[in-house]
């Protein structure tokens, strides 16, 4: 099997995260045995001889991204994929908007609610790490559908909960389905050309995160309708949970029925020939674990994405309790936080790319630090806002900065390592969930201080933790405060391969990447290779 441009083969560690960042050419699945099938008019077709609706490249990945199209397989995959991810977000955060009713039904204390919130985001730390391997082995279609249909029973168990332990356990198991993020990104990478995979991935991730906002809006409405029909309030919230459960099951079936792993067909249908040359997992892990920048960004991602998850868990209850609103009103206001994801996450990545054009990597680092610190400051102001309209306005601006910081983080991640990109991206994502666990445990569990004080303290912690971005130093580009050394991009990316591997020429992919990465020097480089696959954004 002909290797991809980067020398990596299918199934290697890290291949499942290719394209997540959208800054490197992606050859997630190289099924070269098919070659370039064309019909008699020299138009590319899949193995069954069907023409593609969109222009495709030599791997049959789409070269354009048409949002309003549902054409199989590319755009159909996009819509199946982001909607599945969105429904999983919907199910995971379906309990918080109804917490006002649930806490009285089950007799929950603040600590119980906090534990349940932590449980809801901790399950996916593991499932996200596993999902990459599952997608590599059986394909994103099976990965996504199996996960959704296995966790749907957990959603159906919520109507049966009558104890605190039951509630925490059910939220834990439902939270596993957030791993559809990985299958979503993986699937986009196999369907879309590297020039637009960043746009496809970023849009899919942003629209998926919308689920956390939509649920705050929709669950109270469903509850209200069921109450209106005549159910008791303690029964109505239980019945409301059938809605996410049924949609999740339905989407799982839809993915199985009409989904397709690759532009040419499903894994099982395609023959694979040739030997697989796997990169050493130990080596990939080693170069990830010894790169201190991975830890820094895993930590900072916990204070943008982690904070976003925490706020999804607490915001409806916060508005209800502090401002004495109706359940549905608190839900509508809380939903606007998650709904900002439509634009804020992609914009964060776009801003990072814009700044990098002139200031390079140093600009990206400053961009991330400024956006995330602004997010922290606005978090503090949100906790201090005692007026309803002020609180709503501050929350909207806060949500923009927090979600833009997520996008900006993934503008930097692809440059940390070439060889261990998958592991580093996965670790960053897991770091986000860990941040959610930590912030909920520290600030929203004790009755000692109120929720508004917890929000203020969380903002303070965001500001402090984001300071570690100052510590990130790239020898070839410098850091926020220090200029670069004489070291070059080639030196940096070559250093991930030892002498034996270099003599075998395994590092050539990294050298090619280093050439393209010269764009991160900013305007001071007069001759930047124009062959750079212009990183759109994530």
């Amino acid at each position: 099997m002909a290797p991809g441009w980067n020398g990596q083969q299918q199934g290697e560690p890290g291949t499942s995260m290719h394209g997540v960042t959208g800054h490197e050419p992606v050859f997630a699945m190289s099924i070269e045995t098919i070659g370039e099938t064309k019909n008699s008019n020299s138009e590319p077709t899949d193995i069954k001889g069907r023409k593609f609706a969109l222009p495709v490249d030599s791997e049959h990945k789409a070269k354009t991204f048409r949002i309003y199209s549902f054409a199989a397989p590319h755009m159909q995959t996009f819509h199946l994929s982001w909607f599945s991810f969105m429904i999983c977000f919907f199910s995971t955060f379906a309990a918080p908007p109804l917490m006002i009713i649930i806490r009285d039904n089950l007799g929950l204390t603040k600590e119980n609610i906090g534990n349940a919130g932590i449980a809801s985001v901790s399950g996916s730390i593991i499932s996200r790490l596993l999902m990459g391997t599952i997608c590599d082995l059986v394909g994103p279609r099976y990965g996504c559908a199996i996960l959704m249909m296995i966790t749907a029973p957990a959603v159906f168990c919520m109507p049966l909960v009558s104890t605190v332990t039951g509630f925490i356990l059910v939220r834990f198991f439902i939270g596993f389905c957030l791993a559809t993020f990985v299958s979503c990104q993986f699937w986009m990478s196999s369907m879309f050309n590297s020039k637009i995979v960043g746009l496809a991935n970023g849009t899919a991730a942003g629209w998926g995160n919308l689920g956390g906002g939509i649920t705050q809006l929709v669950m109270p409405l469903i509850y209200g309708i069921i109450r209106h029909i005549g159910a008791e309030n303690y029964t109505a919230w239980r019945i409301a949970f059938f809605v996410p459960g049924v949609i999740q099951t339905f989407m799982g079936l839809l993915v199985l029925l009409i989904g397709q792993d690759l532009p040419d067909g499903n894994y099982a249908e395609l023959k694979r020939a040739g030997d697989k040359v796997n990169d050493s997992f130990k080596k990939v892990l080693f170069y990830a674990v010894t790169n201190y920048r991975m830890y820094i960004f895993a930590l900072t991602y916990g204070y943008c994405f982690g904070v976003e998850l925490t706020v999804d868990n607490i915001i409806a209850e916060y508005f209800y309790d502090r401002f004495d609103l109706k359940l549905q009103t608190a839900g509508i206001i809380a939903s606007t936080f998650g709904l900002m994801n439509i634009v804020s996450r992609p914009l964060g990545g776009i801003l990072s790319d814009l700044v990098a054009r002139r200031y390079g990597m140093r600009g990206r680092l400053w961009n991330l630090w400024i956006i995330q610190t602004m997010g922290g400051v606005l978090c503090i102001i949100l906790g201090l806002s005692g007026n309803l309209s002020a609180a709503i306005a501050v929350m909207l601006i806060f949500s923009f900065f927090v979600q833009a910081a997520c996008g900006a983080t993934f503008g930097i991640i692809p440059f940390i390592s070439r060889r261990s990109l998958g592991v580093i991206s996965g670790a960053t994502g897991a770091g986000g969930n860990v941040g959610a666990v930590v912030t909920q445990a520290l600030f929203f569990m004790k009755s000692g201080y109120s929720t508004e004080k917890g929000i203020v303290l969380m903002g303070v912690m965001i500001v402090y933790v984001t300071l570690v971005v100052f510590l990130v130093y790239f020898p070839q580009w410098g850091s926020m405060l220090f200029p670069p050394s004489k070291s070059t991009e080639e030196d940096y990316y070559k250093s991930e391969w030892d002498a034996a591997e270099q003599s075998n020429g395994l590092h050539h992919g990294s050298l090619k990447f280093a050439e393209n990465a010269k764009s991160e020097r900013g305007k001071r480089v007069e001759t930047v290779p124009t062959a750079v696959s212009s990183p759109d954004h994530v």
Partner: protein, 211 residues
């Protein structure tokens, strides 16, 4: 309309009235000029617990004559169900605050009656939306605008004596349980079915290809 719905609407109206009328009166400034008693009227008299939906609370209140003359401005009384401290711990949404506009101790309204010095009685069937907790009953004497002027309650100053427990509904129903089980089985079952069908199809195709 069912009694539950009437009770719910009444309590909503009471709540609405209370939230509109409260102007931040300080609880400490109120005198305890009313005497209040509450009894559980239960189908199972020996249990000492009140069950929502079936049992009643019989609440009687009267003006304490030793405060003669202080009741000149009293127009109405509002009878409310209040959380005892043990049910408030670790639950900030039930917190007691001196500013009655922000106080969440007595969030459930029972009834509203006209004030008469000789007092009155009310029988209230406990509605099904009442959470399980330990309670006492408080009666506020209010003026025409709804501002609290005085109060009386069934318990002492520290809210430790004469408390009663209300047992809630679980909210679970056999039909909901069955539906949940059916949907879960369908979800996992259809997944397994689909996967086995595809596996069988693949085996057939591989078999054909091998021939």
């Amino acid at each position: 309309m069912s009694p539950m719905k009437i009770g719910f609407v009444l309590s909503l109206a009471l709540l609405a009235l209370v939230s509109v009328a409260e102007g931040g009166v300080s609880f400490k400034s109120l005198n305890r000029t009313l005497t209040v008693q509450a009894k559980i009227q239960a189908s199972n008299a020996t249990s000492g617990l009140a069950h929502v939906g079936t049992d009643h609370l019989v609440i009687s209140w009267a003006f304490n004559s030793s405060f003669a003359g202080k009741d000149a401005d009293y127009v109405n009384v509002k009878i409310r169900l209040c959380y005892a401290p043990v049910s408030q711990t670790d639950r900030g949404w039930r917190k007691t605050k001196d500013d009655l506009h922000k106080d969440k101790t007595c969030s459930k309204g029972i009834a509203k009656q006209k004030y008469v010095a000789t007092g009155n009685t009310t029988t209230w069937r406990i509605t099904k939306d009442v959470p399980g907790a330990i309670y006492f009953v408080r009666v506020y004497a209010v003026d025409a605008l709804g501002t609290q002027l005085a109060f009386g309650q069934t318990t002492d100053k520290n809210k430790t004596t004469n408390l009663f427990e209300i047992v809630p509904i679980s909210g679970r129903h056999a039909s909901v349980d069955v539906a949940a089980a059916v949907f879960s089985v369908f979800s996992v079952g259809s997944l397994m079915g689909f996967l086995s069908l595809e596996a069988i199809k693949q085996r057939k195709l591989n078999g054909k290809a091998g021939q």
